[in-house]
Symmetry: C2
Subunit: 472 residues, 2 copies
């Protein structure tokens, strides 16, 4: 974390805690320069960041003032209430965190991806070659959206395996799940609309909402009890919510999953108000229990659930092959795809289709799930060994992400900054919320084969937690 | 064309010609049902289409009325004046035309793609394999935007060959040029903004403008003299134009190119008002003269020109590898890419990079250009043989698209409908304009190896032109 980011984070903390109430003028430039021993431009950049976070506003020649709502929003989230609609300013924060995790030497505890070493890249390349060879030269026209027929059939077959029926005609192949989710959101919203998201939740949802000039309504997710359906009902009663973007299975970042009853209740609640659900189900195949969990889409009789997933977390991270089964919005989503990126890579589509048919996907998945489960055990052992008892987590039943609740005095952004300096990436809680809440939480990735570097990194994190600079 | 589309097209013609002036009530339901012998729902759908085209508006219990501007816009375009800003409703029309061209048996004169048979697919697959083999497992993280290093170096080297210097750092790899163009447009506009486009021009620009809630200002392009710079200057003087989306080389659909002087003047004109230019240069490598034409970007000293191109028309149509060199907006465009589709297919990037270095791209391009040029000659011979002398065109000096000016009585939408019935696709003029102008123009594709089917198709088109149903 740069110097100005530290200053901004410290001030943000004070604002959120109510020490700097709404309308109060922030410390003067001169004051901060003296306090932190930094240059004027560093202070300016800190104020600029606070402004981007929506916590302060500048008034010409008068200084910076704490904005309406900067404190209140945080309180609402902490109380588990549905927050007021929020204009989202998440991107700078997310990008600075993501950038810091990209250096190859860094220990990738903050990564969003599982280790590529867990994937059958040689076997997949074989399928890429035979799939591509089998393409007609005209495939560049024929495989335009909705996409390669063979691949859509294979995806449809996997739905059957999960206990639901989705026709290949409904399936649109996309550039990863991220494009699927973005297109679905675009298909059902207009600028200014309200979208319900999970809090904490996947930052890409917040980025999409920001990019499309939408507003987020954050619905609390508890690591134990999951999405707060009552809060969702209140939000639906109070606000004209146009869409929901949720992750019912192995939610990012908390790892929690909805029960079958809860998924059914969710779909029924949205049906009653005709609100579409964008269902992010990218970890569906990474379950540790015997059976693959049902998606919420299984309970949808109205074509209201837009189910999005991909092969990026399970088979082929770089191929960028995902899909959307967008129910009654399928045609609109397909058109948006044609208008924005035309088509997913056609050899990659053929390659994944060939692999699904001939490559032994289920065998690979069994081995991948076993690896993830054993890595989780190793990480938990290390966490119990090195971290104080006050650090808590709920063991997820799938995926590769672990959500840690640290002592409430911890500032995860400061922890992130110091960890980065020590060559360790972590995902700090504030990137998972439009209001930069969850200052005392971090997300860790156990998607990498365990090795002494990880053990050492956990030990280092424990040391940093002892540093007073990450508290208060 | 469906029955209701025919009715809508006929009425649109009458509105545009001024036979149904602004404010006039359209014929009653009963009247049209009697006139065309169709059902009430067919008439409703026709009216709905007219409404979507922005030509009529519904008034409850009073009927449908011709809208302000429906006639005027057309006149302005015909006079070569910059039109008033237009809310765009192009997609339905474009999609219905594109769908009709996708059947494998149809003669693809309306296609937007060159024949895939002209591309070295076997050699490219070899590069796909060796490129993919050379990737580190960590490439799925390392090759996130801006993209594969090797590929960006190769693209940078090709810029040098064209006479300009673009650093690999400025280059962002995208899912084809279409994504590059869309991201650039998104980076420099907000909903409601005005964007200058060419008229006739690439329908994807109009679709993007529609999708992003922007408004189009159409700048006339003459097949001989090209973009009307004076009209652009007037538009810049009169309207707060936020961006231009132009195609200075081998413009789609007219095939016209700007001279070096004109490109320089264009860039200077935009620099004076600090208006970014989104430069669509996808046909840059398909020049028939000896040297590759310079892009407008060559004259940009301010980072205002966002140069977009791809390998889809020259090498690897299904790989979906394009790029944007977005000048001072490069960082913003890269972030939008990360947020919307994350990354282009990583094996495909590596494959194209390997091909550029080892595959003999320049040799392939020489042969491709020679094929296109000879196909153009064969098409011109057939056109001269079968079509009446009143059909005119300007021979393009690159690309694979020919813009035909038909007798002014021709209705290209009706021609398209009848040609489709006979198994021939053409691209009718109205899909290249926000106001559905160019009713008497069509675009033909000479990107396919000439064969008797094409000769026969031209002959069939000539026959259809004799049909009174396509006139008036």
């Amino acid at each position: 974390m740069k110097r100005y980011e530290t200053i901004a984070t410290n001030l943000a903390e004070q604002i959120r805690a109510g020490h700097l109430p709404v309308g109060v003028r922030l410390p003067s430039l001169r004051h901060l320069i003296a306090q932190y021993g930094v240059s004027q431009s560093t202070v300016f950049r800190a104020y600029y960041l606070l402004e981007q976070w929506g916590l302060v506003r500048a008034e010409e020649r008068a200084g910076y003032f704490v904005t309406q709502g900067a404190t209140v929003k945080e309180k609402a989230a902490a109380n588990g209430l549905s927050t007021t609609p929020t204009k989202v300013d998440i991107s700078d924060l997310v990008f600075s965190v993501l950038e810091s995790a990209r250096h190859p030497d860094i220990v990738p505890l903050g990564s969003a991806f599982p280790s590529p070493q867990l994937f059958p890249s040689a076997r997949l390349l074989k399928s890429l070659v035979s799939g591509t060879r089998s393409l007609s030269p005209w495939s560049t026209v024929e495989d335009l959206p909705p996409g390669n027929d063979h691949l859509r059939q294979q995806i449809s077959i996997r739905y059957v395996g999960a206990g639901l029926s989705v026709s290949p005609d409904e399936i649109l192949v996309t550039n990863g799940a991220l494009e699927a989710l973005n297109l679905c959101l675009m298909a059902v919203t207009r600028p200014g609309d309200l979208v319900a998201v999970e809090s904490p939740g996947f930052y890409a949802a917040l980025q999409a909402i920001e990019r499309l000039d939408l507003r987020a309504v954050e619905i609390p997710v508890d690591p134990v009890s999951g999405l707060d359906l009552e809060a969702l009902q209140r939000a639906l009663d109070q606000h004209p919510i146009r869409a929901c973007w949720f992750m019912p299975n192995f939610q990012n970042p908390t790892g929690t999953s909805m029960t079958v009853e809860k998924k059914r209740a969710l779909v029924e609640m949205l049906r009653a108000r005709d609100v579409p659900l964008i269902e992010d189900d990218v970890y569906q195949e990474l379950h540790f229990s015997r059976d693959r969990p049902l998606p919420a889409k299984a309970f949808d009789t109205q074509g209201l659930v837009m189910h999005c997933s991909s092969f990026s977390k399970t088979l082929a991270p770089g191929y960028r092959i995902g899909w959307a089964s967008a129910g009654r919005f399928a045609d609109r989503v397909r058109r948006l795809k044609l208008m924005t990126t035309l088509s997913a890579c056609i050899p990659a589509q053929a390659g994944v289709a060939d692999y699904l048919q001939n490559g032994g996907y289920d065998r690979h998945l069994r081995s991948l799930r076993a690896s993830l489960q054993s890595q989780l055990e190793q990480m938990e052992t290390a966490l119990r060994k090195w971290l104080p008892d006050s650090v808590r987590w709920v063991r997820p039943n799938g995926g590769y992400l672990l959500w840690l609740q640290l002592p409430s005095s911890v500032n995860a952004m400061a922890l992130h900054a110091l960890a980065t300096e020590r060559g360790i990436s972590i995902a700090p809680g504030p990137i998972f919320s439009a209001t930069h809440a969850f200052q005392d939480c971090i997300r860790l990735n156990f998607g990498h084969p365990w090795n002494p570097r990880f053990e050492e990194a956990i030990r280092t994190l424990a040391g940093i937690l002892d540093n007073p600079a990450v508290h208060g």
